[in-house]
């Protein structure tokens, strides 16, 4: 099986991500007795090497679309297909929890606005853990496994991982003094870069970005733009929300207006 060994080898012509007639309603049982629709008729696709920007004011449901794709929000209707392996798509809207988890480890990188850190764990180890999970996925072909072997990494593999983590932290200009401190103590901009590093350390076919440069200064924004640009040129399909017009113009290859997805009164 060649699965997962090289995540970015998809054909450029078939979309990595495809949304078909997706809609989203929320139902707050304590507040009302009927659901209210927030999004409808979402149909679009994103192919390898594209960077598509979702455009629209706050509250129009941009983040909700990313959350549905990532599986944090339930899809109320429609389909969200994500290329799992060549010619094999998984519908996030219908997929079992395990399918979605599988997609997340092997196919989707999602950079949210907030960093969810594990208490006590330093930034370096947090990023390294991500790389280990990914390696684990590659190393443990899951078919028919009732048992997963204990993961033992060789000295060389650990050295390679350390070097990879160091490289990305240096690239994102995180001071080595901070590497072994838990990121909950970091500034907003530092946390955001750790969050990016966590994703970018394992290139995957689909990258979802929720305001990747929101709390970054000019220099760091340029670095982040470079990294995202690099990912796109390697064939990553990117769907993003960029409030900063400059960032958006530098990165996007196409935009989609949220106006089309607002529910008709």
């Amino acid at each position: 099986m060649s699965m997962n060994t090289n995540p970015i080898n998809s054909k450029f012509d078939s979309p990595i991500l495809e949304l078909k007639d997706v809609s989203k309603s929320f139902f707050l049982h304590q507040r009302s007795s009927s659901p209210f629709k927030v999004l409808e008729n979402i149909t679009f696709s994103v192919s390898a090497g594209e960077c598509v920007a979702l455009e629209g004011a706050s509250g129009m449901g941009k983040s909700s679309i990313l959350k549905m794709i990532h599986g944090n929000y339930k899809v109320s209707a429609g389909h969200i297909f994500i290329q799992h392996t060549e010619n094999n798509y998984i519908d996030v809207a219908k997929g079992h929890a395990r399918d979605i988890l599988d997609l997340r480890t092997s196919c989707i990188n999602y950079v949210s606005q907030f960093l969810r850190a594990i208490p006590r764990v330093g930034a370096f180890d947090l990023i390294k853990q991500e790389a280990i999970y990914f390696l684990q996925k590659v190393k443990r072909p899951q078919s028919h496994a009732v048992e997963l072997p204990t993961l033992i990494l060789s000295k060389q593999e650990i050295q390679d991982l350390d070097a990879k983590v160091e490289a990305i932290l240096q690239k994102l200009q995180i001071s080595p003094r901070l590497w072994h401190l838990p990121p909950s103590t970091f500034s907003g901009g530092e946390q955001q870069r750790i969050n990016l590093a966590k994703s970018l350390i394992n290139p995957k076919p689909l990258l979802l970005l929720d305001e990747p440069s929101a709390s970054l200064d000019h220099d760091n924004t340029e670095i982040v733009i470079d990294l995202i640009h690099e990912a796109r040129q390697c064939g990553t399909a990117i769907l993003g929300i960029f409030h900063d017009a400059d960032v958006k113009n530098k990165l996007m290859t196409r935009s989609i207006s949220m106006h089309d997805f607002q529910p008709k009164p």
């Binding site: 049982h29 959350k67 339930k74 929890a97 006590r120 899951q142």
Partner: protein
């Protein structure tokens, strides 16, 4: 008590490329008098899955866990386990000896109170070694070195091996209980509120440890907790229980970010923001 074993092979021909569930709980029920403590609960657990069972006190979470571990006899449903030695077995149809063997070698159980899972008046090393010796290990040197290895894995200094657990702090006792479970290299661990008796900093340390252990060992875990933050941190999948029934189940972050059932919504909206 049944003495003969019956190996029930799984009938479900799960499609090619799919894995076999390690544990399959079908329509499990348990009543105490008139009250249905566990009401037709079904779920599947695969290798590497971490499943959190959440709900308020009295919702049947712990009873469910104790039924799975056959600490309590259940009245309805079945528990199928894909064992290493016997293939897929119906736990209720195994002899007590066979049940005990599976529970000692392939399963682990972490009690909320470490005192329930440890022998308090023998040394830490003996607590770990006891599990090995019950499986026939006799070589003192091997047992001791495996005990040291287990202690190291839960970050207890090897110099404490001859100390009694009653002289350990709560957090250390809990880690020792985990070490005792790990020494036989189980494939599945059941945990009943493993962190709730600990103060916040110790809890964080234990959660981090559990997260790394489950990932590295590829363990399947069922963890009962009332703490949704613990569920989010450790578990990829979650089941919400109310009055003995599973009212919502799925991806942990989907259930927490976009709960559908009124009770889950109430539960999630009741979290204090730290």
């Amino acid at each position: 008590m049944k003495t003969d074993s019956m190996n029930i092979s799984l009938q479900t021909p799960i499609g090619t490329g799919k894995e076999l569930p390690l544990l399959q709980v079908n329509q499990l029920s348990k009543t105490f008098g008139q009250r249905r403590a566990v009401d037709s609960v079904s779920f599947e657990l695969y290798a590497g899955d971490v499943l959190a069972v959440v709900g308020e006190s009295g919702s049947g979470k712990s009873t469910l866990l104790n039924c799975i571990n056959s600490n309590i006899e259940f009245d309805g449903g079945e528990i199928l386990y894909h064992s290493q030695s016997m293939g897929t077995v119906n736990m209720a149809e195994l002899s007590e000896v066979q049940q005990r063997l599976i529970k000692r070698t392939e399963w682990g159980f972490v009690h909320q109170n470490p005192r329930d899972g440890l022998i308090m008046n023998v040394s830490a090393g003996a607590n770990i070694g006891e599990r090995l010796m019950s499986l026939g290990a006799r070589h003192y040197g091997n047992i001791r070195s495996q005990a040291i290895e287990s202690l190291r894995e839960v970050e207890i200094d090897a110099s404490r091996i001859d100390d009694f657990p009653m002289n350990f702090s709560g957090g250390m006792q809990q880690r020792l209980q985990i070490a005792r479970n790990l020494v036989t290299h189980p494939r599945m661990i059941l945990m009943d509120e493993p962190t709730s008796g600990l103060d916040v900093s110790v809890q964080a340390k234990l959660l981090d440890l559990l997260k790394q252990l489950t990932q590295r060992r590829g363990l399947a875990v069922v963890i009962v907790t009332h703490d949704l933050a613990v569920a989010r941190l450790l578990a990829s999948q979650m089941m919400v229980m109310q009055h003995g029934q599973v009212i919502e189940a799925g991806l942990t972050d989907q259930l927490l970010d976009d709960p559908q059932h009124p009770y889950t919504q109430l539960l999630v909206s009741s979290i204090l923001q730290g």
